[in-house]
Point group: D2
Chain length 340, copies 4
């Protein structure tokens, strides 16, 4: 950490800062500048309160040098974390495709969707039983009945289930049915929930919050890992900006940024990151070209009848065409999308 | 709702849209334009799936005309919601000031803070026992022991307690001690939590999310109200933008926007919305001048020893000076900050 | 245009709105709703003042139905605009690569860069003689001497020249030397400059402003086209958001959005849109995968000696590797990067 | 400047960085950390290329310690810059109010506006003769004829004229008529224009760009000052964010931030920063409460007939009411709005 003193800081103030830091068990090193002085702090600064030092008289501001997360960092673990989802080695050169409806609406709808996405090349089935909706008047999901249908769909198709969990006291129930626990964008900093899923043995699909930086996302992952669960798929799903042509702005930079900073696999959700079906395939291709390890896509057998997210849901034939194009890009990258 | 057809939409497509909408129980009205046609939908559109219609062949997009929230809207209830917090009529011409430390750290710290903010003119005491922290390695709060200290501080000072609740299964515990349940910015769309606090009889301080629009905030309030709890204080606490000179960007426009659109009282938290003590008083004055009904401010007896948010916490004497200036602005507005 | 009346609007107010609109030469059509009425306006609304109508008593707000640009729109011209730059048919299935240093610094630097990028597969040479710099103390470019060096580089390598013009009174001078006039992001809404380049017969590379929507960019293009110049390359170069891990946020959605809304070719500048060399190739690949028609990349023979933008400039060998990877993605897309 | 080395940087790389920096005339100081080393650079770093050093092998990134602007900074000049506009000492405890129509439309409109705003308490008259409009089909201003009308209005009312200049080659013409040259938000980084107005002896109203940080604004001011012109009024006019309830987001934090960082007077434009008349007075009050030195407000005698910005223009009586409320806030702040 660097402590930047004010230009008008006195020598006494400088000395107080040094004493205070050293009393907390770190070493300091002063750089005497022409305009102002800077105190370099060396040692384990986790015990040091950066904000308290920033408040001391004569201090202008402090600057961190190290990253605030550890277990999730590429510096801590050089090699990719690789784990198996339905035979696909996530985090390796193999690309995983998750697809399915936004919400589980009925047995017929879910099974039709499940068979269709499997046929088109998906490896895992998504579907929401508990739905975070901005309006209290919107459909909130089928709840446990939806989870049971998801389990039946797994039975019939052999595909593992990815489904959202919204509260710590739901984790046990959802984990009973799901193969992958999804944390939605609105819950990325629901820390009680992160702790709870970190204590399960289920893989986690962790979506980036709408106003979260890549670093915030890695800190959220750190919550999960520090509870013992390392099987995390990070997922870019668009951030909120001033642009209104699309529902969100796909931060494609986040793909190489995250791949550089963490060993965890990185996914992209082109359905939410664009919000319009006409752009989903272009962004799915871009994700793979940028280095993503997988995709999660909304597919509905009859989008015009969907109770949620219809406007961004693909029909099975659109999805099948997308998968073909994604195959071509993956090959151009020297990677592969495993086929059943 | 308006359904805007594509320029190249056929008459069949137009007729299908009309039939589909009318089959869902609404009336339609077509405006035949030079370039494209528009279908106006009249009637109760809550049962209508806007996204499904947006997916139909020939439809370009749909546009809502009405607001998506109802109980929270000024159209539903013209008069301000007014309720009592420690003798202050929140939502009237009286201004409520809530102050206290970010986290409850110890009995000594909390009581010193409580007496100091009361002396300086605060009406209610804030303090976190459960803390949402972006790092799993940061102090996560004292938990129930912190709640007990808050209750003791209330006993001794007579000030009601405002404290955060982070998960649905914590609501019962926190409500046992608190007078006002705070929902933090990161939990503004934690819908399970909103349902849970909506079922209590405690007032709620609902903070705006970092990437939430004013409308999103009102939808979150609608979750609480629709469960029966109308005593909600909405709280602007800064949004995330590209500006890095301050921790967040105070959206001062949100004060008159919210006052126009809802009957609920509107607060501002200048400590979080700036993140730097040197700007807190200026923004507190601006909040009142813009029409806010109250303030919530971080005050710590010794900010340089604070375990969290030290850099934005006021010392008691800074807070006392702020209260004086806020009094002057309130008077210029024809309002008052009640004194004990 | 739709005119949405207030819920409490009187019949007189409604009639005034109708009369006012019809007096301006359009037809109107009222939709009488349960809560509020809406007036649809039919006909050529270019002569109509939307803001004035929005001010009338009883009007809540107005909503445009048509796009505000015309000549640049895909509705006006269905087929791609295609034009030739150094034998590459820009806007067709051929991809154009522009590369070179941020600033022209010296004859040696420019020629070394020019030969290197040509060798690596670039089709055109970029280089700034007039530089927009946020600091008045930073290098502002070599001016006309730089333009002369660019002309010499063209002579020697056969590559056309892309260079920035910053002011209307510079257009004549720059157009004397350049093949493509670049409008920088900070000048995207410098309307006098847009008029001026619209009157030349040079192709224009128009960069998106940091806070400009895709629609704003198309309106800027409309300025150029409406002056008679249709040879425009639109260029995404990153927008400003809260994310600080990269210099800008590449809005990859803008590629398919622009391709859908306009017939003009669409480029991406991965050097500026990331600001860090380690991410440039990943984003260049993503751009092509998303459907971009070309790239503009900063390459410097010795980035560590660059007077500007060193941190985001590629060395020739990094660029050569990028071109190879871009070739592979283009092929996977059924497109090609023409080779000399 | 601090140079943060990578964790895996070798000793040779460290030595190369040190040699390179010292060869450029600065002193260095190494802090050997547990994880990584940091090189502090002492001396005049203006001659040093931060980006080039950031490119050297073993360097992770660099961090500036000093501000990039000088003449505009409070550190360079402790006391407020104060100058006279129509008898008001701008930058002192006196508050300047500028008002008038967005565009000069006709003699009758301008004179009616001028008399009305003077009567209501304005000190200076604004009005655009050259208009930056996002659409090429929108009214672009009356040009020199508009300037002549402004001069006539000054003659008749005694109020000085504030009007926009859009291009370097317009500065001479506009300066012949105007008392204050306005630089619009879209031109804040039109560096040629900044140089040109910096060479005049006219006061400058410099508006913040929609995506510009406070620091960017101060760098733009530095361009003007470094050309010799110190009479600059900085003007917050809203930034672009995800919020759509208002046209822009008023960054009220920018008022105290700028007042702390620069000696130049700071204004706010509540008409543009909200875009809706119903919020203008609330934000005007907030601006003064936050410490602004003045306001610039759009007033039109008949907003419903305005050719531009009607929706955000006040009628004279609304403006007169706003001025009264601003007086009250100014008094509560111990400041005054001088009366004629």
């Amino acid at each position: 950490m660097m402590i930047i003193m004010k230009t008008e800081a006195t020598e006494n103030e400088l000395n107080d800062v040094i004493s205070s830091a050293e009393a907390q068990g770190v070493r300091t090193h002063v750089i005497y500048g022409a305009e102002r002085n800077v105190v370099g702090v060396v040692g384990d600064i986790r015990g040091l309160d950066r904000e308290a030092i920033a408040m001391m008289p004569g201090v202008d501001h402090t600057m961190p040098i190290s990253r605030p997360y550890k277990l999730a960092s590429r510096e801590f673990q050089k090699d990719n974390t690789v784990f198996n989802v339905n035979g696909v080695k996530v985090g390796s050169d193999e690309i995983l495709i998750i697809a399915g409806p936004c919400s589980v609406e009925s047995r017929a709808q879910l099974l039709e969707a499940a068979y269709a996405v499997k046929e088109a090349g998906a490896h895992a089935l998504r579907g929401g039983a508990f739905k975070p909706r901005s309006s209290p008047y919107a459909f909130q999901g089928m709840g446990e009945a939806g989870l049971e249908l998801l389990a039946e769909a797994r039975e019939l198709t052999g595909m593992p289930i990815v489904t959202e969990v919204m509260a710590p006291d739901q984790v046990e129930l959802v984990a009973k049915y799901a193969d992958v626990l999804q944390i939605g964008a609105r819950n990325m900093q629901n820390f009680n929930l992160l702790h709870a899923v970190g204590k399960t043995d289920k893989a986690v699909l962790l979506k980036r919050g709408m106003a979260a930086t890549a670093e915030d996302l890695l800190m959220a992952a750190e919550y999960v890992i520090s509870n013992g669960n390392r099987r995390i798929m990070l997922c870019e799903r668009g951030i909120r900006t001033f642009e209104t042509a699309t529902r969100n702005t796909t931060d494609i930079n986040a793909i190489p940024v995250l791949k550089a900073q963490t060993h965890l696999p990185v996914f992209l959700d082109p359905s939410h990151s664009t919000g319009k079906t006409e752009y989903v395939t272009a962004i799915a291709r871009a994700a793979i070209a940028a280095g993503a390890d997988g995709l999660i896509v909304e597919v509905h057998p009859h989008p015009e009848q969907a109770v949620s997210d219809g406007a961004q849901s693909y029909k099975p034939e659109q999805f099948a065409d997308m998968v073909k194009q994604v195959h071509a890009i993956a090959e151009a990258m020297g990677r592969k999308v495993p086929q059943h």
